[in-house]
């Protein structure tokens, strides 16, 4: 669909698909290794992932656990350090480059594109970006009022991992897996509808990364205001007016790929003020 080939076609897009696929492969293969071969070197999925003695804990799940139980457990905090550091420096990169929901969305997008021809789908329904923050606040408040963490058992990224594990271990699927389907179906209404407006984890990572080092910066001198980047952004942001530096941006690089002038670039900044 993009005809000019002055630069490598969709470089970041392809890299991102490879990384997403790799990240998905981890949670896809791991249950098989555990179940059939008793190789316990890696356990879990993107709620908590244990690689040998290195533990990752998803920041939102960890935060919920601390808020609800009102107890602090050091291994939990330490497990959250690396994800939080990544978010501080790189922003919401987990969402774009590792999240299984992102992978499945890309997959379903490609499938639809393949079946329905090459036309880009429109966003039928857009809301305020700020809804994301309310999703996070609402989720945390509800969690604390109920005294029961919500995201830990309803998080779509976690559910993908859990369903794979359930299928391998117990040859069954959990009912709540329909949430994953819902999230994917919402993509038909608006690209990454859930990621844009509703994902509390994405919101938390965005919040942590609001002063991130890595961001997308547009060189206004080279920009011809064609608007391709605005159309390419899966989150419906407008890189053309500098929204690549807003906390919402997840550094996927689709706008870099789309720009025919090479006006948008990833930039490592000492301090970003937006």
């Amino acid at each position: 669909m993009k005809n000019k080939t002055t630069k490598p076609e969709r470089r970041f897009h392809n890299w991102r698909l490879i990384v997403l696929f790799g990240a998905f492969l981890v949670i896809l293969i791991n249950p098989f290794l555990n179940f059939y071969f008793h190789i316990n070197f890696v356990q879990g999925w993107y709620q908590s992932l244990g690689i040998g003695k290195l533990w990752f804990v998803s920041p939102l799940e960890g935060l919920e656990s601390i808020l609800v139980s009102k107890l602090v457990y050091m291994p939990l905090l330490i497990g959250m350090v690396i994800p939080v550091l990544i978010a501080i420096f790189l922003g919401r990169v987990f969402c774009a480059w590792a999240c299984p929901i992102s992978f499945l969305s890309e997959l379903s997008d490609s499938a639809i594109k393949f079946l329905k021809g090459r036309k880009r789908r429109k966003d039928f329904f857009t809301l305020s970006k700020r809804l994301l923050w309310f999703a996070l606040m609402g989720e945390l408040l509800l969690t604390m009022i109920l005294g029961a963490p919500i995201f830990v058992f309803l998080s779509p990224p976690g559910l993908v991992g859990r369903e794979i594990m359930m299928a391998v271990f117990f040859k069954t699927l959990a009912v709540e897996g329909v949430i994953v389907l819902l999230v994917l179906l919402l993509n038909l209404v608006t690209r990454r509808f859930y990621c844009r407006y509703l994902c509390p984890l994405g919101a938390l990572l965005a919040f942590i990364g609001s002063k991130r080092r890595l961001s997308l910066v547009i060189n206004t001198a080279e920009c011809k205001e064609c608007g391709l980047c605005d159309m390419a952004c899966p989150l419906g942001l407008k890189p053309s007016i500098g929204e690549g530096r807003s906390p919402y941006c997840w550094n996927c690089g689709e706008c870099v790929d789309s720009c025919q002038q090479d006006a948008i670039k990833f930039q490592w900044k000492e301090i970003t003020d937006h």
Binding site: G44, G50, E61, F170
Partner: protein
């Protein structure tokens, strides 16, 4: 084809699985007789909030003793549970090593208190004098401590019983759905209860 397969799986979970626990409400705990938390679990009230449902204990369990609950258990969806009469806990203590939240505390086999085994003297064939069965005694990992034979009849010592459920699993007598002649009662439910023998 793939979708059909998926839907079939989905439907099977909706219609077949509810047998695991009939009275599971939105907020009520799934823990009950022979429905146990893995070793080292914190108290049930804390468990709900502390566990992040990462499923690492389920994945690491080599005996597949631990199952992960789903939405039919309300807010307890995703938490681990051991169905003692199906697959008991063999106390390998792998799960407590991997829990990232401290919901399963790092404890030893001897310290484990998942519950206390209780012999039902009205259904146990040895206690009824109908036969001399000592399966629970034979399979107990803390034989002569947790389960002793008193005039050939099994007696549980709660000072040593870990509540692993091996005796429940071994017991040949099923007198009621899921209930054997020896059953493990989760400790926190035992508090203030008078059913201990």
């Amino acid at each position: 084809m793939e979708r059909r397969h998926f839907l079939k799986l989905l439907l099977s979970t909706i219609f077949v699985l509810p047998t695991t626990k009939a009275d599971a409400g939105f907020l009520s705990s799934p823990v009950a007789t022979n429905r146990l938390r893995p070793p080292g679990a914190v108290s049930e009230e804390t468990f709900l909030g502390k566990c992040i449902r990462c499923g690492r204990c389920v994945e690491v369990c080599p005996y597949r003793s631990i199952v992960q609950l789903d939405m039919k258990n309300g807010v307890h969806a995703g938490t681990p549970l051991i169905l003692a009469e199906t697959v008991p806990c063999y106390l390998c203590m792998k799960c407590v090593e991997v829990c990232p939240t401290g919901t399963l505390k790092k404890i030893s086999q001897e310290e484990t208190r998942m519950g206390i085994a209780v012999v039902n003297r009205f259904t146990c064939i040895t206690w009824r004098g109908e036969a001399i069965c000592r399966t629970c005694y034979n399979v107990c990992p803390f034989k002569e401590k947790a389960i002793r034979l008193d005039e050939l009849r099994p007696v549980v010592d709660e000072k040593y019983c870990t509540g692993c459920g091996l005796c429940v699993h071994g017991c040949p007598i099923t007198w009621k759905e899921g209930l054997k002649a020896i059953n493990v009662e989760p400790i926190h439910l035992m508090k203030g209860s008078t059913q201990g023998i």
